[in-house]
Symmetry: D2
Subunit: 296 residues, 4 copies
């Protein structure tokens, strides 16, 4: 597997940087407190981006910084974490060297899966793709040709609960930190979402909230829309209603059949999903309520 | 009013051209029949565009041609009409010199109205704007400064039926052939749509079918979408459900407040509405079922 | 003129906010220094956005904050200015209540001028339009109908230098702080740009650097491009080569004639120019070298 | 190789259709002549699209039809060809069942190559990928894993002429009808283009004519553009100046480094190239002068 390992993009700073995602009640002094802490601890800010939701009185920040003094970034991240908690903020920290373990769930269609794998191999997705789960075997040989373990987890009505349990077992076994549904054509149960132990990113082949549910391209064709879209979102208990991460669209005309829409939509789906996964892996997304703040 | 009369765009051919919009059951020989008739009658095709709906077995065509022999285009159009009816087609004909009478309905917001007036003055909308109806007086002085009659038709709950009758009277009086709702903030009754005697084009400030109904930017903000849109459609008895003519969108981020979305949306609304009106006036739209064929 | 005065958008905070645009050599402690100063002086940050150009080692920041203690924002802005200069930064400060005086230069085409005036009347452009200069009289009556002084400054080859001097005189007289070329069809001389005393924003009707110079739609048509564009930039001595502020594009096909491209391009031009002017007036643009940092 | 053969998309008509691309001097009766011939010969038109270049007086048409009488489509296409030649038209005919032989030229970067192969495997590119030529071996194992012959044709300054001869030999050997440069990083000599015996489609990683030549993303970064693009065109003797087939763009900001532009551009490049190849293979492109008519 060595020779297919993704190339790491060269960074200007060779030091590991620390990324923190904070949010909490908006109040004076947060920006100064964060920047002051980093300065006092000998760090240099690489990026800092904040957002204030004026309506809800919530403050959001993504800050990335580096310590050039050879200190252990894990230790520094922990100290920062404690400081931020004392300020009353909810916080997540990560290191630029982290490579979260990702499981990809697939059915028959390969376009979204291929896109993820190629982005990963190009070094654009900082993660390890640990395992691929399919309820069909169509993509097994592709997965294994890339050195990726493939587990066949067929779903039938009566076995769904059992299969979902098995899938969650596999996630545990591999230490999965993110689940990506790459055109996985099964509705996940509430129980699955409660117990899978990792956020789940899904791609819906419409411009949500238009055309939620099944066969969105057929719905779009019937309604005669002049634009089609795709939506990547975190999966939640309410189908196709989770926090939206990324969307994109393209114009269509009356000349396009349902088959055309499906073909054109494939490009949207794969790009929108890959972008959402990248944003998640680069720790650029904060979820609050049913919405996202995306620091891109 | 002379000096504000719209400039007529110079055409390559100085002759009046005839435009026909046909549709009917798909069968061999329609294209040949139409083109053959034009050739035999000494005409030259300028544009011809057709569409086959394979699922429904329907044929659609827009054809534009010119007779260089000095014959009366009205007579020619009538003969063509009869030929097409014999072929079993539904047909509408128009002349390039036609200037349909248009009524614009407004409330307080002026952006869509301004856009229509300026497009019209630039010669891009081949029509006469005959009258402007407002349920508020905000745009009265603008209308009259352009030499356009403005009628104040205020709406209250108890007077709505009476006012709609009055509005329809005004349309009759001016011989109105197209009604454009330029951010007119009233729901039209079924009775109005049945009796107003002209197609009605409306602009909805969302990417329909997402966010139909009231306050779509608030809905979009709440849902956290990453793209907003606008939709021009023919008004029908079912609110925001008529045949879609044109749509456009633009990306937004979490940084945008509801007020920002409303500001950004104004550009979408005005451009999408003006484009839809242009397409209608240039006889480029065929409605069938709840959809449109747009020959652009 | 009272009743046509632009409505001021309601802000959540009724206090005047201070906006600072800083840039200078990147070094640790700038973010902390700025945020610390604001905190110590009793201010609350509304927005803060920074950028590091890693290649050039330059730091850029836009920060907007408010003092709720009733202190004079002008005094506060001055103190901040001095602090930032001590940190080695170049800095510009402004107040949210500022309304810079703007001159608009026009020729015959009205679309860009109309767009600016309507955005201004809708309260989206925080400025005073002080004067309109035209080398043709076509837009004089429109300008005066909006209560805007119009000065006719015709240009002939032999009088160009004299007219430019006159134009600069007018800018001085009105205290003009920004000049906007709204499809003003004259090349400005180097001398004009050196002496006009204000930044000049221009709109070029192509996707620069493609099709610089004259008749860009003709050039685009000849080259057979599938997308047309418009570019707003600061005017510099090198024609069509100044720092780009904003660009937008739209797809076209072989069906479009040069006249069609010109018509379609008008929408691009007016929207791109109005957006660039808004970004400038909201103090969102930092120019460095021949490029811009746009904090949107 | 059987099991990786692309799936053929199901068509409504199971009969092979004939596609004709015509162009020539515009004159009355062409549409009628073409449609009449098809009707008289028992054919049914599936699609017909025409274009008149008013400036140059040229008529262009793409027409697709089917004979349901079991006649040999090759014979029918030949008869039609003769008829069209008699009408003074230049004509190319093809059958919907044709699968032209395609050679793909690659260097190191795989994204455009992957996209083509996956589109082909999904049945969206009606062709046989006969051979892959690389001046590096990076993509050899990928090609062979898809069952595609890979020929290593390294290029050094002194061997370029010899290698190009070898490449043309390979095209002859495989009967290549279309050459696709999938990010092949070599400038083709005039001699190569004269003798390669097939049209060559190239993808340039900029919005041509902006940033022709080498390192376009570096050029775009230096110029500070707010939009990047990609352009697919037919290769001609003048570098990056051939007829443009398809273009697409996406917005960027000052935050994007050259590396970011390269990453973002990869998606544009692969999609734009795949679309151009599809348009070519579906016989939708007519080249005239240095431009294209694309019947999409």
């Amino acid at each position: 597997m060595r020779d297919i390992a993704p190339k790491i993009r060269i960074r200007i700073s060779m030091n590991t940087s620390i990324i923190a995602l904070l949010h909490g009640p908006d109040k004076p002094g947060i920006v100064a407190g964060v920047a002051g802490w980093i300065l006092e601890n000998g760090g240099s800010i690489l990026h800092a981006d904040q957002h204030h939701d004026g309506q809800q009185g919530v403050f959001f920040q993504r800050v990335e910084w580096v310590h050039a003094d050879g200190s252990d970034p894990d230790d520094r991240a922990k100290s920062f974490y404690e400081m931020a908690v004392k300020m009353g903020m909810k916080i997540k920290t990560a290191l630029s060297s982290d490579r979260p373990k990702v499981a990809i769930m697939v059915s028959k269609a390969g376009h979204a899966f291929h896109e993820l794998v190629q982005n990963w191999q190009a070094g654009d997705l900082p993660c390890d793709i640990s395992v691929v789960l399919g309820n069909h075997r169509d993509l097994e040989s592709v997965a294994t040709s890339h050195g990726l373990p493939f587990v066949f987890t067929p779903i039938a009505k009566e076995t769904k609960a059992a299969t979902e349990k098995q899938q969650i077992e596999i996630f545990r076994e591999y230490g999965v930190q993110l689940v990506v549904m790459a055109r996985y054509m099964q509705v996940l149960s509430d129980s699955f979402l409660d117990h899978c132990g990792a956020p789940v990113i899904n791609i819906h082949h419409s411009f949500l909230p238009a055309f939620a549910g099944a066969r969105p391209y057929h719905q779009a064709y019937e309604r005669g829309v002049k634009i089609i879209g795709a939506t990547a979102h975190y999966a939640t208990a309410v189908l196709d209603d989770g926090p939206i991460i990324h969307q994109d669209v393209r114009p269509v005309s009356h000349r396009k059949s349902v088959l055309d829409l499906m073909r054109l939509g494939r490009d949207l789906e794969k790009l929108v999903l890959a972008e959402a996964v990248r944003l998640h892996l680069e720790n650029r997304i904060l979820v609050y309520g049913n919405k996202t703040v995306v620091f891109d």
